[in-house]
Amino acid sequence: METVQLMEITSRECRKYIENGGDLVFIPIGSVERLGPHLPMGARTHVACAIANEFAKKNNGYCLPPVSYSTCYNTACLKGTIDINHDILYDLCYDLSKELVANGFRRIMFVGYFKEFYYLISEFFQNEGIAIAWINPDHIPMESPSNANERETSLVAACLKLLGKDDVCERLIEENRKHLGKFSERKSIGIIRELKKFGNIGLLYEEGDYEVLPAKNIYIEETINDIYKWIDEKNIAVDSLKDYNYYLSRRRPDRGLK
C-alpha cells in the first residue's frame, strides 16, 4: 500500500482493498481545544492522527481523515475551544461506523478521547451485531514522564514528530520553555482533582487555567519508542477483532427463548 490515507485513494482502489480481504480502518477523533499555553489548538487531533496512522501502517489498514471537532468538557469555556454537543458527535460517529460497515470494513477502530465511545461501541454492537473498538491514547504506557504534564506534553510532541510536523513541534518546545513555571493551578482545581479520584466531578476551567501545564522535561524519542512498543503489543487486539466478528456472525443470541 502506497498510502494509508483513505482520502488519497480512488473508489476503485478502495473496492480492490476490500475484495482482497482488507477490512481494517481507523478513525481519528481529535478536538479544537485550548489544553495548555504551550500546546497547539489541534493537539489532540495530532495525537489521534499519529496513533491511527501508525496502527494502520503496521496492520495493512486505512485511516479516515480526522473528525477534528468534538465534545470538550473541562476546556469548553476557554477561548479557542470549539465544543460540539455530545449527542451530535455520538450520532456522527455512529453514522460513520454504519457507513464503514456498508463499505465492507469489519474492523473499525476509533482513536481518540471521546468518553462516550464507551456506550457507542456497545450500542453499535447491540443494534448491528458488529464489534467496533476504541483506542484511547491515555492508555499508552510511558516510562519516562514523572507527572501528567510531562506525559501529555511529551505525547503531543512525539506525535507531531511522527506526523512530520517538525515546525509545530519546535514551536511547542519553544512555547514550553517560555511558559515554564509561569502558571500554577488554582487551589479549587487541586481539590477537584483530589475528588476526581473517587470517580468524577465536573470541572470547567476559567481564563488562565489550563489542563496541561508546561513540563520540566519533554521526552520525544522515548515517547516515540513507547508508542511503537505499545502498538506492537496491541497488534494482537487488532487481529483478534477479525476473529471476534467472525464468531459474532455465526452465533445466534436468543435470550434463552429457543
Binding site: E2, Q5, L6, M7, E8, I9, T10, S11, R12, E13, C14, R15, I18, G30, V32, R34, G36, P37, H38, L39, P40, M41, G42, T45, H46, L64, P65, P66, V67, S68, Y69, K79, G80, T81, I82, D83, I84, N85, I88, L89, D91, L92, D95, L96, E99, L100, A102, N103, G104, K165, V168, R171, L172, E175
Partner: protein, 261 residues
C-alpha cells in the same frame, strides 16, 4: 503563508485579538467517489487548496477541514462515507457557532462538496439567527467566474467534458498544499481510465427519473461509475491552481464587502 488554527498556540489567540484580523475560513469537503480516477478526498483537496489561497490573500485563519457530510446518490460507490443530512448539518452549525463565539466577526464556510451545499447555506442563516453575525456560505460554482474558468481551461487545453473542471481543481488544490505525489498519481490514473471509457455512454438517468426531476428533486442513486465525474486525461494542475486563485480573489473581495454589513 496560510494560517492554520490547529497549529496555532494560545499566545497567537491574544495576538489575533489585538490585530485587525477577524476572519475565519471553514473548509468543507467529503469522502466520496469521484469517477474511476479522482481521489475519494477530491472535494476536500479543492477546499483545502482554495482555503490556503484565501488565507494568503486576506490573512484569514483556516480552521480544520470538515471531512464528512451527506453524500446522496453516490453512497452506493466504494469508499464513500455518507452521514444523515440533519446530523451533518447540526455538526456544521456547532462548529460555526464555536468559531463565531471565539470572536471572529467574518466567517466563510467554503463548501466544495455539492451534497453539503444547501446545508452550508442553511447554516449561514441559522448562525445569523442565533448570533446576529453574518456568515458567508460559498459554493465554488456560484462565484460567477464561469467565463474566466472556461478561458483558463482553454488555455491549458483541458477538454471540457462534463465536470472535468473538478479534476483540475483537485489537482490544483493538491499542488497548493504541497502534495505533488498525489498529482502525479491522479494524472496517471486519469490517462488510463480516459482510454478505458473513451467510447462509453454518459447517459445514466432512467426515463422515469428524468421525468420526475422535471418538477422536483427526488431520491436517486448514481448508477454508473462515470456518472459523477467522467475521466479526462487532459486535467491540469496549473489550470486548477489558476481557477483556485481567481476563486480566492472573488471570495476575498466578498470578505471586504462583508465589513460594510
Amino acid at each position: 503563508m496560510a494560517t492554520y488554527f490547529e497549529n496555532m498556540f494560545p499566545e497567537d489567540l491574544y495576538q489575533l485579538d489585538n490585530s485587525e484580523n477577524d476572519t475565519a475560513v471553514l473548509p468543507v469537503g467529503a469522502i466520496e467517489q469521484h469517477g474511476p480516477h479522482l481521489l475519494l478526498g477530491c472535494d476536500s483537496y479543492i477546499a483545502l487548496g482554495m482555503s490556503e489561497c484565501i488565507s494568503e490573500l486576506t490573512g484569514a485563519v483556516v480552521f480544520p477541514l470538515v471531512s464528512y457530510s451527506w453524500i446522496g446518490g453516490l453512497r452506493v460507490w466504494p469508499g464513500t462515507v455518507d452521514l444523515r443530512p440533519q446530523k451533518a448539518g447540526q455538526y456544521l452549525e456547532e462548529i460555526c457557532m464555536g468559531i463565531v463565539n471565539m470572536g471572529f466577526k467574518r466567517l466563510v464556510i467554503l463548501c466544495c462538496h455539492g451534497g453539503a451545499r444547501e446545508m452550508a447555506f442553511l447554516t449561514a442563516s441559522r448562525v445569523m439567527k442565533r448570533t446576529g453575525i453574518p456568515v458567508l456560505a460559498v459554493f465554488p460554482t456560484r462565484l460567477g467566474i464561469k467565463e474566466e474558468t472556461a478561458k483558463i481551461l482553454e488555455k491549458y487545453e483541458v477538454r471540457v467534458k462534463g465536470k472535468n473542471c473538478e479534476g483540475s481543481l483537485m489537482l490544483g488544490g493538491m499542488r497548493k498544499i504541497g502534495r505533488q505525489d498525489l498529482v502525479d498519481k491522479v494524472l496517471e490514473i486519469a490517462k488510463e481510465t480516459a482510454l478505458e471509457f473513451e467510447n462509453s455512454s454518459r447517459d445514466f438517468k432512467i426515463d422515469s427519473l428524468k421525468n420526475v426531476m422535471k418538477i422536483s428533486e427526488v431520491g436517486h442513486d448514481y448508477i454508473g461509475e462515470t456518472q459523477h465525474v467522467f475521466p479526462v486525461a487532459s486535467i491540469n494542475p496549473d489550470a486548477g491552481m489558476e481557477i483556485l486563485e481567481i476563486s480566492a480573489e472573488v471570495i476575498a473581495s466578498a470578505l471586504e464587502k462583508m465589513k460594510m454589513i
